[in-house]
């Protein structure tokens, strides 16, 4: 009975978080469509494989069609997110829309997480109207949500892993100059120069290399240990806020906009129900 109560509580909470995720998807689609508007009149796009079949169709037609379809289906998802068919059709439209919006020679990665988590949420099953979900369905849904959490955290760990690998590679190659205090400042200077952008804190951090290095090491630790945090539910809230702060930091320091991703750690970690020892989601009802 106690387990049943806990699963009910977790599922009710997760249902609201799935809804919050759908809202984020809707806002992200609007953001994606408007930030890609400058590419609409492109004459010679390099279409990504999911939309390669549309080669020959004017790009602005593809752009208009995919964005309208995706926007309408995202709005429908907000209203009828419990219908699996709407989820499936929405996912297909989102997949095609993101592919079209990235067919200009550079693949942006700010919509990838949204896409993959939408794919995972196809596995959620909701009861028909006026019926309550069985306990087994609820347990499965809790597990799918847990998998989405794992997915989110694994991407941060991968990001930390490649940074660590780069450090190790330099060490093994005897390139010890890379371990100087100026390395982080140099990276900030490089990214700002490469993007031809100016940021609020970038210039200050380039001149204060020790602070920049400390922030870089903190970021590395935050990212690399993200996956391990799964085993420490008490830290989820703080970790979610820290990851969100990391995105705010990259915006202020590097002027890199990952707005679509910024809210996901809050939904999947800070607001997520934290399991206790007695209510393992792996327990079968």
């Amino acid at each position: 009975l106690k387990l049943r109560g806990i699963i009910e509580y977790n599922w009710e909470r997760i249902k609201s978080l799935v809804k919050a995720f759908d809202v984020v998807v809707f806002l992200s689609v609007i953001h994606l469509v408007f930030t890609s508007l400058s590419f609409r009149l492109m004459q010679q796009p390099v279409l990504l494989w999911p939309v390669a079949w549309a080669n020959g169709i004017p790009f602005h037609w593809l752009y208009d069609l995919s964005s309208v379809l995706c926007l309408v289906l995202s709005a429908m998802l907000l209203m009828r997110g419990q219908n699996r068919w709407i989820r499936v059709i929405h996912f297909v439209s989102l997949f095609l829309c993101v592919a079209v919006m990235n067919s200009h020679g550079k693949i942006r990665h700010d919509a990838h997480l949204m896409l993959w988590i939408s794919f995972l949420f196809l596995l959620l099953s909701f009861p028909k109207a006026h019926c309550s979900a069985s306990l087994r369905t609820k347990v499965n849904n809790v597990r799918v949500f847990f998998a989405a959490q794992l997915f989110l955290l694994s991407t941060y760990t991968l990001s930390g892993f490649w940074k660590l690998q780069s450090l190790l590679q330099n060490f093994l190659n005897g390139n010890f100059d890379i371990f100087s205090a100026e390395t982080a400042s140099r990276e900030i200077a490089f990214i700002l120069f490469r993007n031809r952008s100016v940021s609020l804190l970038g210039d200050w951090l380039i001149e204060h290399s020790l602070v920049a290095m400390a922030l870089w090491i903190a970021t590395l630790a935050l990212q690399f240990f993200s996956l391990a945090i799964v085993f420490f539910p008490r830290c989820w809230r703080v970790w979610g806020i820290a990851l969100c702060a990391f995105h705010v930091g990259t915006l202020l320091i590097l002027n890199i906009h990952f707005e679509k991703q910024m809210l996901l750690p809050l939904i999947f970690l800070t607001l997520a129900p934290t399991p206790k020892k007695s209510d393992s989601v792996f327990c079968s009802p």
């Binding site: 590419f39 004459q43 550079k106 693949i107 941060y156 990001s159 892993f161 490649w162 100059d177």
Partner: protein
């Protein structure tokens, strides 16, 4: 021991077991498969297969940066004597300040140096029609090496090697 022909009761149990655990197994498989693919994409750094990504954002560390650069030598029949990077010509080309233009120039340079004529043709077509705004222009592709901190302080580059010159409408 695996039975060759399971009894109907056992088969029913197997189906029930699969139905019970399918969403969990499928969800975990997606996470694991994505993680493994992301780890193994390392060998092929520049050719990304959408929607997979290895999440190596800002992972490289540089003492000095070696990259391709484009400067426009002729624009609508006028010779531009000052050697300015394409990215600094936002007054002529609105797309010049975008990060996408940087990525396309790097892809163009890589295609040229690796003799990938198909990719080079594709990148040139895109660069000339969109990033050069459809103007008639001649541009020089160079390989530059610089220390980002030095460049920021004094605009000095360590070396610049001109690789090739292209004109719009030429093959």
């Amino acid at each position: 021991m695996i039975e060759a022909n399971p009894t109907p009761v056992r088969r029913k149990n197997q189906v029930r077991w699969l139905r019970r655990y399918f969403p969990s197994i499928a969800a975990c498989s997606v996470v694991v498969i994505h993680f493994l693919i992301a780890l193994n994409l390392s060998a092929n750094e520049h050719d990304e297969v959408f929607p997979f990504f290895k999440w190596n954002l800002f992972s490289s560390l540089h003492e000095s940066v070696v990259e391709f650069e484009v400067h426009v030598a002729e624009f609508d029949g006028q010779i531009i004597s000052e050697k300015k990077s394409y990215h600094d010509l936002a007054n002529l080309f609105p797309a010049a300040k975008s990060y996408e233009s940087y990525v396309v120039i790097q892809a163009l340079g890589r295609a040229f140096t690796t003799d990938n004529s198909e990719k080079l043709k594709q990148m040139r077509r895109m660069f000339e029609s969109y990033y050069l705004g459809g103007h008639t222009a001649c541009y020089v592709l160079s390989l530059v090496e610089y220390d980002p901190l030095e460049k920021r302080r004094s605009s000095v580059v360590q070396s610049r090697i001109e690789i090739s010159r292209f004109c719009t409408g030429e093959n």
